[in-house]
Symmetry: C2
Subunit: 305 residues, 2 copies
């Protein structure tokens, strides 16, 4: 799973950090790509990224602030212009459909692919072949959501060498053994598949949060996640700003990661006031949660399988 950070700033674009967007490329699923938030000029950032607009088939919008949605109409139009015919599904808070419809209608943007907007409610979830996706309501100045992606557990691999050592001949019963069934061979032996299958692989968990104050529910929601992508708009010296505008500080995000016992914390949505102070910014978070990374525009973080 690759995380492509396209915009890691907050509020307004700056030369160093564009407004919010992040894409996930699922390496083992035919290159499926999902986009999280779509601030203005997200499609411009894609021109500098290996993410292919036509391959994005789901877009998740955490909340409706301009720095998270104003790139959507243009990106949707360009996806069509670039030849995409595959359906696009867009998830986001109530009001998103109206914004998209008004923007496309006024601009007479004709899309050659079908799209659907699914407006979120607390408890929203769905499943794909490989993943389940859940939404959690956050605490921002406008409705804002986190998304949890949970990979389905993968069955353990069949231990071919052990099978050979037991002189169990190759054949269609390998599939039954892999599924943990018990079979009877021609020579009369009874074989229990469980003894020849390695431990199942637990699916990985990734949580991507929108703008928010830290919340208890997020600690529970992020419990033991492999990756938590969380905003840290301010350093702790601006804790009052974080409260006033519904954001989190470095220390608050790191504390949440620690309490939730996540494996890796990726900080994003950084105020442009901290340009040039990235090291101090990151170190502040690390005083609480060591395995923290500070995202930057066009950074790619890979979660190996």
């Amino acid at each position: 799973m690759e995380f492509h950070f396209l915009g890691t700033g907050s509020g307004v674009p700056a030369i160093e950090r564009n407004v919010s967007a992040m894409a996930i490329r699922f390496l083992q699923q035919k290159g499926t790509q999902w986009l999280f938030d779509c601030g203005e000029a997200t499609q411009h950032q894609l021109l500098h990224s290996p993410i292919t607009l036509t391959k994005i088939d789901r877009i998740f919008i955490t909340h409706l602030h301009g720095d998270h949605i104003f790139g959507l109409p243009g990106l949707m139009g360009s996806r069509s212009f670039q030849g995409a015919l595959s359906p696009l599904v867009i998830y986001g808070p109530k009001g998103l459909a109206e914004f998209i419809e008004a923007s496309l209608a006024v601009s007479k943007t004709h899309l050659r692919y079908p799209y659907e907007v699914i407006e979120l409610e607390e408890g929203f979830m769905f499943e794909t072949e490989h993943l389940s996706v859940e939404a959690l309501a956050l605490n921002h100045v406008t409705p804002s959501f986190a998304f949890k992606l949970t990979e389905k557990d993968k069955p353990g691999t069949l231990d071919i060498k052990k099978l050979e050592a037991y002189n169990i001949p190759k054949g269609p019963h390998y599939q039954s053994l892999k599924e943990g069934k018990t079979i009877t061979l021609e020579d009369g032996r009874t074989i229990n598949g469980h003894e020849f299958v390695g431990p199942k692989k637990n699916g990985r968990v990734v949580v991507i949060a929108g703008d928010t104050r830290p919340t208890k529910e997020m600690i529970k929601f992020s419990r033991e996640a492999d990756i938590l992508i969380h905003e840290a708009t301010f350093r702790s010296d601006k804790a009052d700003h974080a409260v006033q505008f519904g954001h989190s500080t470095t220390l608050e995000a790191a504390s949440l990661a620690k309490e939730a016992k996540v494996k890796t914390l990726l900080l994003t949505h950084i105020s442009s006031r901290y340009t040039g102070e990235e090291e101090a910014f990151l170190n502040e978070a690390k005083t609480i949660f060591e395995n923290t990374h500070l995202a930057h525009d066009l950074m790619v973080y890979t979660l190996s399988s």
Copy 2:
């Protein structure tokens, strides 16, 4: 008058050319700045330009296609975030107000300055202290307009050396002479101001066209303009595309400039298919109208006074 080309491409953003936007800086009017069209990431282009967002007080939208308007909500929000309190007036085709209102409302963008949207009709015009502005309907696949800016004529300058040669003492009557009045000096001489004032300076004329097929009305509207900024989406080899999508070719734009007897033609809205062929593109136009320039992103063209 400085012309700052912010986006000179067509349809979708490319690395070399962003979607449409151009700013004029009026050097002699306290740095007043007007913006023409506002494609996505226009505010990003401003980060690389001397144009100051907070000083833009009028925005002209030629037509409502996405590549001309999708940067507007974000730019309006950032203008407020950067501290602008001065009013903003936005001119454009019917439907513009709805797009702006929907975008600002859904995103809960609060502006600290007042703004007004004036929807254009054929024959629209207004005057400022220094300029008159007229709109002309064009011929595109959606309502599209050209804007003509005509500077007011400036009175000639008072010839101080000649006044001194005639031994006319300095004093408040200089102002009367400058205005062409006749005065009587203390020594009894009668002096006619017209004899001491140089010829009046004709106001310059600038025409900025939106996407369009060439039209007869545009020839008349652009007559003897100092600057004509016109689209040339295609070269003449794609003349059929130009007809189909309501655009102009190099040769069509150059012919219009020639027939209208403009002084300078600036071509913009160039299809990304011509990346790397700029010289041939420009030369094609020059075969018909020699004083043609090809705009590029962040190009500044100065019309000296």
